[in-house]
Amino acid sequence: MSHDETRLIDHLRARGVSRRGFLKFCAALTSAMALPPSMVTVVAAALEKARRPSVIWLPFQECTGCTESITRAHGATIEQLIFEAISLDYQHTLQAAAGDAAELARHEAMQANWGKYLLVVDGSVPLGNPGFSTIAGQANADMLTEAAKGAVAIIAVGSCASFGGIPMANPNPTGAVPISQIVRDKPIVNVSGCPPIPIVITSVLTHFLTFGKLPELDHLGRPKVFYGESIHDRCYRRPFYERGQFAESFDDEGARKGWCLYKLGCKGPVTYNACATVKWNNGTSFPIEAGHGCIGCAEPNFWDRGGFYDALSVTHWGTPKDVAIAAAAGIAIGATAAVLARRKQAAASKEIKP
């Protein structure tokens, strides 16, 4: 596949996007990235000049949920606009080609855009055995290393690529690792979530096209603009938390009144993502709005951090059997100490007697 020299604006125009539509798109993205309104013109000017970026998308140990997320947005969304505007040169699920033809397309795209293409990865990489997950006979780790060499940056889409996700959950049978444990010499953006919010992926691409660099990241390598605040901080149920009004079950009066889901295991207070503001399905709602607590899917090891329905304050105190063992140990030590003390007392009494 040859390098696409089409300008982004030309491509959008060819697809019937008006000037007004393009500027609305730029304004929406500028707003989503929390940039000041004055940056709309900068974003528009940069995108007008931008070439369609070549994107190679490698799916490894994943469930295709991340791809579903970005492609199943309803209506003519900005996510679709940018998704159609990039030159997606390789993506298993979406491309028509298969087998050798698909691999040939990947190699041609890599050669034509060496050092300039963006590498998008979803899914974790198994290191337990190269044969656990292969594409065209090539182990995931080898394919990632090869593709990463010519990439300008890597976007790890989803919690599996970002942090290992479900494949890495205890006992991690495949030895799954996140992308950042294999590629260490390229800039990596973690767009975590199971799946991630489509506009986050779009915004990272736009930021790269506009400013020629990746957005500011948090300590887990995620764009701060989307992962800077917790779900809890922006949750519309927060006032109920402040007042101590909690749903005790999913069908009680509190649940019907929309009270806080903390006691039902909501992980919103320790989960950093934009679900509560950007929302899902064209801004329709997000899990908490649908009546279910946040499961913390954008955080590392979310699968192994206790039950989804256990409140954050619930801890592992053991079982009644553990308590019985602890009590038995206490009795044994206490009795031993008492016996030793008695012997000492008896010995002392003998010494005192004439």
């Binding site: 917790s230 809890h232 901080d233 402040e242 007042r243 101590g244 009004q245 909690f246 903390y262 006691k263 207070p269 320790v270 090891n301 951090r305 206790g306 256990d310 409140a311 954050l312 304050s313 619930v314 801890t315 592992h316 105190w317 053991g318 553990d322 308590v323 602890a326 009590a327 140990a329 206490g330 009795i331 030590i333 206490g334 009795a335 100490a337 008492a338 016996v339 003390a341 008695r342 007392q345």
Partner: protein
């Protein structure tokens, strides 16, 4: 493993195990203590009544000393009550109680708990400062007292910070919650081996003393 994962997992498990083992150990030690046989004739045989009377009498300031110890006595009640109300009736605590006991009860509104916590915290700090500067209390205060008071105050401070999402020095909520749970776990480990063990022994020792006194005809 993050701090929160540790304190919600192995940290709490071991703290709870040490708490249970420690309490049983101390009680076993007390029960097996070597005692001399009392060969005297009892002046009064109503030991249960005598024990209960002493428990009741020592729960209020003795008349002779009332003027001098009233402040300490009732502020002591105030913070003990506040501490336990906060622990037992804050909404976020009840899922933990339910997970241990298998049942729980309705929580109090947070606005009520916050006021109680503020009063409790203020009382505790006031009493501790008084202890540091009072000529008599200062002399009889040892390391155990300092650590015990600190470990009772810390869960309140860290709990309020976690609840109110206060982020001192940029500390995130999950870290603050982790520190709060850690402070509770430190208290659980310290409890059986310190003066805080009185939460287990206070009533039973008063009863024991009362029962022994009544045998000798003492009413105190």
């Amino acid at each position: 493993m993050t701090l929160l994962d540790f304190v919600r997992g192995p940290g709490f498990f071991w703290a709870f195990t040490i708490l249970i083992a420690g309490i049983v150990l101390r009680i076993a030690g007390l029960l097996l203590f070597r005692r001399r046989r009392d060969l005297s004739t009892p002046r009064d045989t109503s030991r249960v009544l005598g024990g209960l009377r002493t428990v009741a009498m020592r729960s209020v300031p003795p008349h002779e000393l009332e003027k001098n110890i009233k402040f300490q006595h009732f502020t002591g009640y105030a913070w003990h009550l506040g501490w336990f109300v906060t622990f037992l009736f804050l909404g976020a605590h009840l899922p933990l109680i339910r997970s241990v006991l298998g049942f729980a009860w309705p929580n109090l509104p947070n606005s009520v708990i916050l006021v109680i916590t503020a009063v409790t915290l203020g009382t505790l700090v006031t009493l501790y400062v008084r202890r540091l500067f009072h000529p008599v209390l200062r002399v009889i205060t040892d390391v155990d007292d300092h650590i015990s008071v600190l470990l009772v105050i810390l869960p309140l401070i860290t709990g309020v910070a976690a609840f109110a999402h206060v982020a001192p020095f940029g500390v995130r909520y999950e870290t603050m919650l982790g520190i709060h749970l850690l402070s509770i776990e430190a208290l659980m480990v310290w409890l059986p081996f310190s003066k805080i063990f009185h939460v287990v022994t206070a009533l039973m020792t008063r009863f024991r003393i009362g029962a022994a006194f009544i045998r000798r005809g003492v009413r105190a």
